[in-house]
């Protein structure tokens, strides 16, 4: 496969290096590029010990932007796990006030550790996160062993047998997680091609040139369903079907890329993804804002009520009626 890529392209060089570094499966994680596409990897991670994911083995895709490592890789879970929705992009960027900050010196290994680190953290209502109960997650963990990837086969054979808790690695994962923020994008926003294909297939609409506005409305629709776990289970199974169809065009699109080195299509699509991942989820933020407003305004009303009552009291009028209204 090496010969078909432009080895002068830094992303290609870097990805070959990373593939070599990660060549051997570990007890906790494993990731390698697909045979026919250096820019799409499949990963397998073990559910962290001491969590409801313990015993589970989870599989997914990592999509590399054409200008990796300048832009972050995109991670998509394929195995239902109860923490992240499947077939949706999880984008990695740094947390805090400056979200647009993936660091080129991070690597796929960093991303894998971040995934492991994030699994047991609360979903907090971010898009694409699932808030399943511990028992549901444990059930999915058991079931995950049966998952078979069309490309990689049976996934429970992909990792080395666990011989210890790998405390050190879990510790490292937690540390990485402190630096990396996870936000989840919608699959439709992935590659322009991918998105357009999936849209054609799933909904029949196909405005290629204006995916941004469309997807923004889709996100809104999505949040309402994903906030209710029971619902999102449904959407998950739906979207699973949708992507099994979209995987192929995505593959063929990016496999034509490295030979040229600067194929413009994947670049655009990755930047689209990046632009999305760059921000913290605007909707969840505004949701929070709404809650704050609610609390704040009720506090103000209460205060005004008390003041009015006080005034009435000072004027010596009976406040029984008012009390009834207020309390």
């Amino acid at each position: 496969m090496e010969s078909s890529y432009n080895s002068r392209c830094p992303a290609v060089k870097r990805l070959f290096r990373e593939a070599k570094e990660l060549h051997e499966a570990t007890e906790e994680y494993f990731a390698q590029p697909l045979d026919d596409n250096l820019f799409e990897w499949h990963f397998t991670v073990r559910g962290p010990a001491d969590s409801e994911f313990d015993g589970g083995i989870y599989h997914g895709r990592i999509i590399m932007p054409a200008d990796y490592p300048m832009k972050p890789p995109n991670i998509i879970f394929l195995t239902p796990n109860g923490r992240f929705e499947t077939n949706k992009k999880i984008c990695l960027s740094i947390s805090g006030h400056h979200p647009e900050t993936w660091q080129p010196s991070w690597s796929i290994r960093t991303a894998l550790l971040a995934i492991i680190g994030f699994m047991p953290t609360p979903a907090n209502g971010t898009i694409g996160s699932l808030d399943y109960t511990a028992s549901e997650r444990a059930k999915l963990a058991k079931k995950s062993l049966e998952y078979e990837c069309p490309q990689c086969g049976s996934i429970n054979l992909l990792l080395k047998e666990r011989t210890s808790n790998n405390k050190e690695l879990q510790e490292e994962a937690r540390e990485v997680m402190g630096q990396v923020a996870v936000s989840v994008g919608v699959e439709n926003k992935e590659e322009n091609e991918d998105a357009s294909v999936s849209r054609k297939e799933s909904s029949g609409t196909s405005d290629l040139m204006a995916p941004r506005d469309q997807s923004s409305t889709e996100v809104t629709a999505d949040i309402s369903s994903s906030s209710v776990p029971a619902n999102s289970k449904n959407t998950e199974s739906h979207s699973l079907q949708a992507t099994s169809q979209t995987t192929l065009p995505g593959n063929s699109a990016s496999s034509s890329l490295p030979a040229v080195g600067g194929n413009s299509t994947p670049e655009i699509l990755m930047e689209g993804a990046d632009a999305h991942n760059g921000r913290r989820n605007p909707i969840s933020v505004s949701n929070q804002g709404y809650m704050y407003n609610l609390v704040l305004s009720s506090a103000i009303f209460l205060f005004i009520g008390l003041v009015v009552r006080r005034i009435f009291l000072l004027e010596g009028e009976t406040s029984d009626e008012l009390d009834e209204v207020l309390l």
């Binding site: 002068r8 300048m70 006030h97 400056h98 900050t101 609409t205 506005d213 469309q214 923004s216």
Partner: protein
């Protein structure tokens, strides 16, 4: 239905539609601007006479009088792509160009680069990736040592992959220098952040603009003098200049306009 909505927002972008996520629209616009910049500006532009700068400000009395004061001192300008990496790209180009005309400086820089890798490892930078960026920089320097020409430097700095790798490595060097001298630099960092946080947020990620602190750290780390000419709306007709570090004869001249750096050539 969806189609209608997206068409509407295209026709009337100024009207507020509560159904459309405004953040997404802003992001789309920012992305579009970035794409346009990328399509229209090369990372390091060709050599232009300073007259082009004068022409740019022919309708602006403040700027044009200031540009006039630059004319006797500088002959040419090279514009850089305003993508947040302009200072670093400008620095790399100007420095490498200087180096191919001053071979002893190239030798000194190479030696510094060789040593810098171990220093970064010691400071805990991830070995695997740091090495990747370092190797690319060494490759470029070795190549210039052999067949150095301005054309070659131009090619290297305009090759997206290579150019970005060089920028990343300088960012790591800046970060290392700031963290090594954290006690001193902590006094200059705003927003109650630690030096380490500042580096993770403002230095190491790509496309984050360089500020005074970055320049101080970079010039001190590599030991190269840079003079920045500040072209802004400040008082007086003179263009204020600042040397980094203050006691070093500058070999690189950069033109600063709010938010952007270009390369200047002495007359």
């Amino acid at each position: 239905m969806e189609n209608h909505q997206s068409e509407d927002t295209h026709i009337k972008p100024c009207e507020y539609d509560p159904n459309v996520n405004q953040d997404e629209l802003i992001m789309a616009q920012e992305k579009q601007i970035a794409e346009e910049i990328k399509a229209n500006t090369s990372m390091i532009g060709s050599l232009q006479g300073l007259g082009s700068l004068a022409k740019e400000y022919s309708n602006d009395p403040v700027y044009s009088s200031k540009v006039r004061t630059l004319l006797p001192k500088f002959s040419n300008v090279r514009r850089t792509r305003p993508d947040g990496n302009c200072f670093l790209r400008g620095f790399i180009f100007a420095y490498l160009e200087y180096c191919i005309h001053h071979r002893d400086e190239l030798t000194r820089f190479k030696k510094y680069l060789e040593g810098s890798k171990e220093e970064l490892f010691e400071m805990g930078f991830p070995k695997f990736t740091t090495e990747d960026f370092h190797d690319m920089f060494m490759e470029v320097v070795n190549d210039l040592e052999g067949s150095g020409s301005v054309g070659r430097v131009e090619a290297v700095c305009n090759d997206a992959g290579t150019s970005d790798y060089l920028v990343v490595y300088l960012r790591l060097l800046i970060s290392a220098h700031l963290q090594k001298n954290a006690e001193f630099f902590s006094f200059f960092i705003e927003g109650g952040r630690t030096v380490e946080e500042f580096c993770k947020q403002e230095v190491e990620p790509m496309y984050r603009e360089c500020d005074h602190l970055h320049i101080v750290a970079l010039t001190a780390a590599i030991g190269v003098g840079v003079r920045v000419m500040y072209l802004d709306r400040g008082e007086g007709a003179a263009v204020v200049s600042h040397d980094f570090p203050e006691d070093k004869e500058p070999i690189i001249h950069l033109l600063y306009r709010p938010g952007h750096y270009d390369i200047l050539y002495k007359a």
